[in-house]
């Protein structure tokens, strides 16, 4: 049973120690507020583990478990099946993991959970590297980004998680961004009320790892949407719906120049990244027209 030292507003304790300028706590606060008290949370080690607590102190007011880096979707599957067997069709099971725990080491268990259409909400907050452990590159790290394991810039593109998710025919998936909280909330609300495996992929820029002033997180995330580095979309019952058209589609220069991780990017790489954003967007647009 929880005893409160401080009565939090919402489900997340005040004073959570994410880095200055990190918006993950905004994601957690909004998601848990919308999902409500009748929710069980699964987080892996990583930045999200801040929300499990330390020792006898929990950081959230809902029950939860910190699993391993690669098994959030599997633990959530087990919880969902345990409730199902006991006739509990009301408690929501939510897993919130970073990109490393999702697109790298956690992809297998997420794939299994999606294929089985487990009744869980899986949220990936994507800061495009292993930020908690010291900015090591992940398969979500974009082309040309410098990390501690790609010091000269990453030479290949990032994995396209949302398309991997769509290939599993889940009932609902969406991308969202901390640059657009009303849109994020709308998508969480929609996901909450759908039965089956729901996946949200949320961009969450990291001032520490991306190298920009901590007051600029929303601006950076907004610019990602403007140039097409991040595309807002929904996938519902097999149908893709895109958000508004990027205003500066394919123009990566401004987005790159805002972040130190792209300091070493060559003009060719910036141009290639811009082309990649534009081509990907056009492809998604064609999908949305089907």
């Amino acid at each position: 049973m929880l005893t409160y030292k401080v009565q939090p507003k919402g489900a997340v304790s005040p004073g959570i120690s994410t880095c200055q300028g990190c918006m993950i706590d905004v994601i957690f606060r909004n998601v848990l507020e919308i999902m409500g008290d009748d929710t069980v949370l699964v987080v892996p080690p990583g930045c999200a583990a801040q929300f499990s607590g330390t020792g006898p102190e929990a950081s959230v007011t809902v029950p939860g478990i910190q699993g391993n880096l690669e098994n959030s979707a599997a633990i959530a599957s087990g919880i969902a099946n345990g409730f199902k067997h006991q006739g509990n069709d009301h408690t929501k099971v939510v897993a919130i993991a970073g990109d490393g725990g999702t697109v790298d080491i956690g992809l297998q268990s997420l794939s299994g959970a999606m294929e089985r259409n487990e009744n869980i909400l899986y949220i990936c907050y994507d800061n495009e590297a292993y930020m908690n452990t010291g900015i090591q590159g992940s398969s979500s790290t974009p082309l040309a980004a410098s990390t501690t394991t790609t010091p000269a810039g990453k030479k290949v593109y990032n994995k396209d998680l949302i398309q991997i998710v769509m290939a599993h025919h889940v009932p609902y998936a969406a991308t969202a961004s901390i640059a657009n909280i009303p849109d994020l909330r709308k998508k969480v609300q929609k996901a909450r009320d759908i039965v089956g495996c729901r996946v949200l992929h949320i961009m969450s820029p990291c001032p520490t790892g991306w190298g920009y002033p901590s007051g600029k997180t929303v601006e950076v995330a907004r610019e990602a949407i403007n140039c097409g580095a991040w595309v807002l979309l929904e996938y519902e019952n097999g149908k893709v719906t895109l958000g508004r058209e990027p205003s500066e589609l394919g123009k990566a220069e401004k987005y790159f120049s805002m972040q130190k991780r792209f300091k070493g990017a060559s003009e060719e790489e910036i141009a290639a990244a811009g082309r990649h954003f534009a081509e990907r967007y056009e492809y998604l647009k064609k999908l949305s027209a089907i």
Binding site: L2, T39, Q66, S77, H85, Q86, S109
Partner: protein, 402 residues
């Protein structure tokens, strides 16, 4: 009590069915056993009322099991060999979160080289993961020990998961007669699952397995150690109750002709029957031979081992895993540690039966022969590895100047 015919896998499935799990998660990694598919059949036929989660790896099988059991239902899974190795990380989570899962493990060799056959390298590699370990000698024991394992693991002062280990093919595929309790008798013994200590329930909020600081971590491990200590006592109580209810005696260690034995072997698993057969032959010749079978390996019954072997002059411990790089195999290490300072006779380790090589009556006769040579003063030492081919160093590409 009804008599049924089961192979080892079937007996494990029957015990699981009798314990009425609510969630089953299993994956058929090569080499698994037929337990996963038998359980699927039982669910499909309505004999088990459970959610069957067809997971994508053994790692996920254990992860699903942990998540499900923390909601308050008994779960079932099973594994073998490399599947258990893949599970290793999450086996520690089940133990540390005190989730009392009971899991049959079909003992099969770890790679490399690839093998499909029996040895104990898989479960011996898990011996310090925080799980209780029982090793069966017969198909009957698979059923008996699995039913007892639920009671021991789930005991409120134990709360520690169990591996019920049985030898691949020698038991898993060996059809034997099994006295089986009725559904009601078994349920009356196993009892419904009661969640204790840690669970996931929005009505009673707790966060499980958050970062544990150094100032508490030692104490959390101390609690697990105390769980093992209690398990040793609880196992005896549960075995006594089982005997009273079902008439069959189960052991932490089983002594065979040890009271006046001069030489003895210590065995584990299905090799033990062959060992007893050879003890009988030697006794007919007037040789005072005996055998001690380790039935419960975790917690290790050190006191019972010491008591049973206190008068034996020369002891050979037979390991069915190689214990590479160690002074001897894992069972021998434990036995030696248990006997240290007790003033008993000489102890020698033997390694064999690797990857399905049969430990035959001839193997035991050789082992006893070497022990007798020491006993009679004809030799000081024994050959550690038995039944090794003479051309061992000449197969494949290995060339060593020795």
């Amino acid at each position: 009590m009804p008599v049924k015919m089961f192979d080892g896998n079937g007996a494990a499935v029957e015990a699981i069915r009798l314990a009425r799990p609510g969630v089953i998660a299993a994956y058929p990694i090569t080499p698994q056993s037929s337990i996963a598919e038998h359980l699927a059949d039982e669910v499909a036929n309505g004999n088990i009322d459970a959610e069957y989660v067809r997971v994508e790896s053994e790692h996920s099988a254990m992860s699903v099991s942990i998540g499900a059991q923390l909601t308050g239902v008994r779960v079932a899974t099973a594994t073998a060999s490399v599947g258990l190795a893949l599970m290793h990380e999450v086996c520690g989570v089940a133990a540390g979160c005190r989730v009392p899962i009971v899991m049959p493990v079909v003992n099969r060799s770890l790679v490399a080289p690839w093998s499909l056959w029996c040895d104990h390298s898989d479960t011996m590699a898990e011996r310090d993961t925080g799980w209780l370990q029982f090793y069966c000698a017969t198909v009957q024991e698979i059923l008996d020990l699995t039913l007892c394992a639920y009671r021991i693991s789930e005991h409120e002062e134990v709360l520690t998961p169990s591996m019920v280990c049985f030898d691949g093919f020698y038991l898993s595929h060996s059809m034997q007669r099994v006295d089986t309790p009725t559904d009601e008798e078994a349920w009356d013994f196993v009892k419904p699952y009661v969640r204790r200590n840690m669970y996931l329930d929005p009505q009673d909020v707790m966060f499980i397995n958050d970062l544990c600081p150094t100032v508490e971590h030692t104490e959390m491990k101390y609690q697990q150690m105390m769980g093992f200590r209690r398990a040793a006592e609880v196992a005896k109580d549960v075995f006594a109750e089982y005997k009273q209810k079902f008439g069959r005696e189960l052991h932490t260690v089983e002594s065979y002709m040890l009271d006046d034995a001069d030489v003895a072997v210590v065995t584990i698993g299905s090799m033990s029957g062959t060992g007893k057969y050879v003890v009988n032959q030697l006794r007919e010749k007037g040789i005072k031979a005996g055998l001690l079978r380790i039935c419960m390996f975790r917690p290790f019954p050190a006191e019972e081992v010491r008591e049973a072997l206190k008068n034996v002059k020369v002891i050979g411990v037979v390991d069915r895993s190689s214990g590479l790089g160690a002074a001897q195999g894992p069972v021998c290490s434990e036995v030696k540690a248990a006997l240290y300072g007790a003033g008993v006779g000489k102890v020698f380790g033997f390694v064999g039966g690797i990857a399905g090589r049969d430990i035959s009556d001839g193997s035991f006769r050789k082992i006893f022969g070497e022990l007798l040579d020491v006993y009679e003063g004809k030799a000081d030492d024994c050959n550690t590895w038995f039944d090794v081919r003479d051309d061992a160093m000449n197969i494949r590409e290995v060339e060593m100047p020795c």
